[in-house]
């Protein structure tokens, strides 16, 4: 990677990892949701560094635009009280730290020692190539995903609907 890309990668990594920690550690859910938006924007920056501009645009539209608004609406529609740390963190929170750390380090070791046969430079194709892949080779999964979205939409409406008395 060139020097400037390396710097951008390090800055974006710091943004992503600190805001991810903030999502877990903030007691106020609104603060968590806002740091989650920061994390999503950092991931969009990483996609741009990886020459995947279309994915970065979709990330901003779907995650920053839609999912964050959905989460903030859900937080507003439900009450949450301030109080003791035990209200926010599960009893198993301190056991979960070493488990996640050990699993993460094990995966890092596997990742660092694996043989990838990777290229040095960017290979991501243009948006045209991705669109033709999506609508030719992957047309059937694409239709399945759209069906899943439709089912999820109907299910979400039915779940959140008030029951008629």
């Amino acid at each position: 990677m060139p020097e400037s890309q390396q710097t951008a990668f390090i800055l974006l990594s710091i943004l992503i990892l600190t805001s991810a920690f903030c999502v877990v550690l903030f007691r106020n859910l609104i603060y968590s949701a806002l740091s989650m938006i920061g994390c999503f924007l950092g991931v969009a920056g990483i996609f741009i560094l990886l020459h995947a501009e279309l994915v970065a645009a979709a990330q901003v539209l779907i995650y920053v635009g839609a999912i964050s608004v959905l989460v903030i609406f859900a937080i507003m529609l439900t009450g949450h009280r301030a109080g003791d740390l035990r209200l926010f963190f599960h009893k198993q929170a301190w056991v979960a730290v070493p488990i996640c750390a050990v699993a993460g380090i094990a995966l890092m070791v596997v990742m660092a020692t694996a043989n990838y046969n990777a290229t040095k430079d960017a290979q991501n194709p243009s948006d045209d190539a991705i669109a033709s892949l999506l609508f030719n080779e992957y047309a059937f999964p694409f239709e399945l995903v759209s069906l899943a979205l439709l089912v999820a939409m109907v299910g979400a409406v039915i779940l959140a609907m008030k029951e008629k008395k």
Partner: protein, 102 residues
């Protein structure tokens, strides 16, 4: 470290921060948010592999679009369930919902 490994290391770190959040927090909405973080980590790994792969270029990005659509569906369903649960019990702590315990 090669560039690919840097991106994968970021992905692994983000994934396990998200899984720690899923295991540690009590609020259902926050657990949904942490699952979104984990899906984002997966997307970073997919795009990185797609970018540095000598043959399968672009396929990783196609899968990222599928993950986007399913993450949106998962968020909608998860938050609708959270709102329905809140309406039922006026609470959102996972410990309060143990009716299906065997």
């Amino acid at each position: 470290m090669t560039p690919l490994q840097q991106y994968l290391a970021l992905s692994i770190a983000l994934f396990f921060i998200g899984s720690w959040g899923v295991l540690a927090r009590r609020n259902i909405i926050l657990i949904v948010m942490c699952v979104e973080l984990m899906l984002n980590a997966i997307n970073i790994a997919l795009v990185a592999f797609s970018n540095y792969s000598p043959t399968g270029a672009g396929r990783g990005e196609v899968f990222v679009f599928f993950v986007f659509a399913l993450a949106a569906a998962e968020a909608a369903i998860g938050l609708a369930i959270a709102i329905a649960m809140y309406r039922l019990k006026e609470r959102l702590s996972i410990g309060d919902f143990d009716e299906m315990k065997g």
